[in-house]
Symmetry: C2
Subunit: 336 residues, 2 copies
Amino acid sequence: MVITISDPLDMHLHLRDGDMLEIVAPLSSKTFSGALIMPNLVPPVTTKEAVNEYKIRIEKAKKEHTFTPYMTLFFRSDYTKEFLEEVKDDILAIKLYPAGITTNSEGGVSGFDLEELSSTLNAMSDLGIPLCVHGETGGFVMDREAEFIPIYEMLAKNFPNLKIIMEHITTKEAVAALDRYDNLYATITLHHLYITLDDVAGGLLQPHLFCKPIAKRPEDRTALLNVALGAHPKVMFGSDSAPHPRNSKEAPGCAAGVFTAPIALQALAQLFDKHGALENLQSFVSDNAKRIYGITPPSKEVVLEKSEYLVPEIYENSVVPMFAGQSLEWRVVRAG
Amino acid sequence: MVITISDPLDMHLHLRDGDMLEIVAPLSSKTFSGALIMPNLVPPVTTKEAVNEYKIRIEKAKKEHTFTPYMTLFFRSDYTKEFLEEVKDDILAIKLYPAGITTNSEGGVSGFDLEELSSTLNAMSDLGIPLCVHGETGGFVMDREAEFIPIYEMLAKNFPNLKIIMEHITTKEAVAALDRYDNLYATITLHHLYITLDDVAGGLLQPHLFCKPIAKRPEDRTALLNVALGAHPKVMFGSDSAPHPRNSKEAPGCAAGVFTAPIALQALAQLFDKHGALENLQSFVSDNAKRIYGITPPSKEVVLEKSEYLVPEIYENSVVPMFAGQSLEWRVVRAG
């Protein structure tokens, strides 16, 4: 069996910088047509210059592959409308992190004071710049996303013309919120479609599956699968592929993040195939994102075939992917 | 401030075997008067000979300290009354593991068929041998203990004269079950009084705090604290101190277990002191166990003083304790 995916898009991707960027950029650019690039570098990407310089580094690191890095800014509540007008054409969205909630998010938002956020969010709304949100409170790890839903609702109600993307959703509560507001959208990762907390900590502890938001309960995964496999029109694929060097994953104080970029399309094909939903993969992994963001990525056809693919144990002796050393049932036979 | 604890008892202890036994036995025997020794060796302890040979190895490894190892058998549903009569004086209890639920529990019980369990449990009841149970189902990791409560109830109802100890309880559901049946008792660990899942996976991942049953929610810890600090008469201290070599804790596939034996009394004193409950520590850590099990351990006075104690980073370059490299507010100044 063979399928062709046109212009696959990864609407939530961490490419990092420096040596790690050199390793991971070509692994995304090989099979994806474009990706939304997260801005949580050190320091975070908060200026027009930083956006464009980072974009140049990505363009160089992606090698010969056709691939558009859609850039983001790190949300700050003091961005002026003048600044946003200037930077508008260089970015596709702005990413909001609650302070300290994940890797390199220390400079994020503390508290969600409507007064404080309004001027930037009104400007974004006027200029048509979507807001991507890492929606977690500082509460108990299993409750953080569900507790954040009222903040999503507050934002959705107060800024009805602002497109708000609930990033890497992991709960049935977030899935339910999707349909309550016209301007709420969501990305879903590969790993949250596959795993629950049981896979991370139900048997032996698996640091390579440890991520934020943490994988949740079986009924949460079921809710995510329903909208992803069903090609819900407001749901997009965003891998949240988040590489860390092996030595920082395989030690106490292991960083959060699952590295999935190079195996994402293969594993998605396997999952959609298993559930008899292959006809919906194109929407989930490209068409929905094109429509929601109004983008036209460079044309790329990716041909996948149902035959065994052995996932590498590690890339460049540095980054361990999800399914390392295991077999997937689908392989990429051509991309370009 | 100084307190004296008489005859401290650890009613759930893993001493392992071989090199690990040599390392950890003296660390328990130094400050505890006795401990209930878990039988999940490879192979599990299932014969009179194995009990007595293991006891001899422990007596040797504990060094010069006064310390009674109370032995247990690994539960098998085919133990006969004749066998139990023979082994009765060599053991204090029998430990039941569901198959595959934790370290070296592969030979445990599959399913909880009353018919199958009855002959052994009736014999134990007749002979007055308590049943210690690792109470978890094979369900979702956060639900396993709560799901097991109906099995505890089935056992408590059908064997009203059998003392049943719910080992290392971690949930408010188990705490609630305690008072519903006269013959249900419980042990609580040090680590479950201190941590929730947030401490294991809420920030960076902490393998040295990864254990089974996994640490639960804040409201669960509160329920445990209430009965431990309140000296509930059916609750005993059982550390479930479970040493693993550092290299097996600090790698993917990290084994479950927190090593607390050498710092347990100090950390308990800190906790009870912080909550203004020092007067109840003697009941929790000794008197309740003496009464419930009807034992008279060798006399040992342990004097603790409120002054800084720096916990070692590692013991014998092999086992990392809870609070490694951190300061506790209480130290042991004399034990003997």
